[in-house]
């Protein structure tokens, strides 16, 4: 088995992106920490042939749901996120804009985009995580990217 240090090195940024796509920046940090702490505790029992990234994203997915539930008053926090335009005239990094646009997508689209495009999971896996069919996951990801193309690239140009 690879040393866990290597697992963090190999997948740390992907899991961070997934968390950032799903949650606010502060919650994303916490979800990342909780994900890797849980993963480290369970790591020696992981099937050596397992897809480590899919396993980590599964844990991150559960941690994100925990966070949604913790903020029970706003079960769909994304709905309340304003369209992010810099009010100061000094727009932040383009990446931040992109993640903000991802976060503003409806739940299933956002998760499908994050798990497929950020974490590179096949649609079958994405569907399993979200409790929807492979075809529905594919459709959600496609709709999500189409929406991003409109809102994000529209805002950029």
């Amino acid at each position: 088995m690879k040393p866990f240090e290597q697992v963090v090195r190999d997948h740390g940024t992907v899991v961070l992106r997934v968390c950032r796509a799903l949650l606010s920046p502060a919650d994303a940090d916490d979800a990342w920490s909780e994900t890797f702490l849980s993963a480290m505790q369970a790591y020696p029992d992981l099937d050596p042939g397992a897809n480590v990234r899919a396993w980590l994203v599964t844990i991150a997915h559960r941690k994100a749901i925990d966070r949604f539930r913790a903020h029970a008053r706003a079960p769909l926090p994304v709905e309340s996120l304003p369209e992010r335009q810099s009010s100061l005239g000094n727009p932040s990094e383009p990446d931040d804009e992109l993640w903000a646009a991802v976060r503003s997508l409806p739940d299933k689209q956002r998760a499908s985009v994050a798990y497929h495009y950020l974490a590179d999971l096949p649609y079958r896996e994405v569907g399993r995580l979200l409790g929807i069919s492979e075809a529905a996951a594919r459709r959600n990801a496609a709709d999500g990217v189409a929406a991003l193309r409109k809102t994000y690239q529209g805002a950029m140009s």
Binding site: P3, L16, D29, L37, M40, L98, V145
Partner: protein
């Protein structure tokens, strides 16, 4: 650049920095909940870069990093536990004592040692090596006597070569009967440096 390419793009500096920061925090949390089986760090020394690793029982590995760092970590993962993180805190003691040793102000180590990586006769040999005083040497045959198997001087050589915690357990003080230096896992040059340091 398409949206798809941007989403899948390589990590930016901000993300790498954030992960480094979160990883340091993870090491602390993992230690708190008892999930950190092996902590490690690297230090610079007069005999080259060293990788130090410790379990909760003590320092378990001192590796000369002319070997690949990843290979050393993989070995620890295979032999001890894969729950390994860079976590300097647990190694602070060892690092300080090594600094003092290389400065010539420390002549023996008081940091706890975990000899989980040495068993049987190899373990018996390591148990006796600290009896060779700072600044002195002993022959392989003499150490074989100390370990209770006078004829096993070749096995003593093997035990020294495979010592998981060199420097802390002073296998560099074991030399050939004719007074020549013999081999050393850290390289003969490193052995020379260590013996020279102790002779000063």
């Amino acid at each position: 650049m398409s949206i798809e390419e941007m989403l899948a793009g390589s990590a930016c500096q901000d993300e790498l920095d954030k992960v480094t920061q979160l990883q340091d925090l993870l090491a602390v949390k993992a230690e708190d909940v008892g999930a950190l089986d092996v902590a490690y760090r690297t230090v610079a020394s007069p005999v080259g870069d060293l990788l130090l690793a410790a379990t909760d029982r003590g320092v378990v590995r001192v590796a000369f990093l002319h070997d690949d760092e990843d290979a050393v970590l993989q070995g620890l993962s295979d032999q001890l536990s894969p729950r390994i993180l860079r976590a300097p805190r647990r190694l602070d003691w060892v690092a300080i004592e090594l600094d003092e040793y290389f400065a010539g102000t420390r002549h023996s180590f008081s940091t706890p040692v975990d000899l989980a990586l040495a068993r049987g006769f190899r373990r018996a040999v390591l148990d006796h090596l600290p009896e060779i005083a700072y600044g002195t040497t002993a022959s392989y045959a003499r150490v074989a006597e100390l370990a209770g198997s006078p004829k096993a001087f070749r096995a003593v050589g093997t035990a020294c070569a495979l010592n998981p915690v060199p420097i802390v357990i002073p296998c560099h003080r074991v030399v050939k009967s004719d007074g020549s230096m013999g081999l050393y896992a850290g390289g003969v040059a490193a052995k020379k440096v260590l013996l020279g340091l102790e002779a000063a």
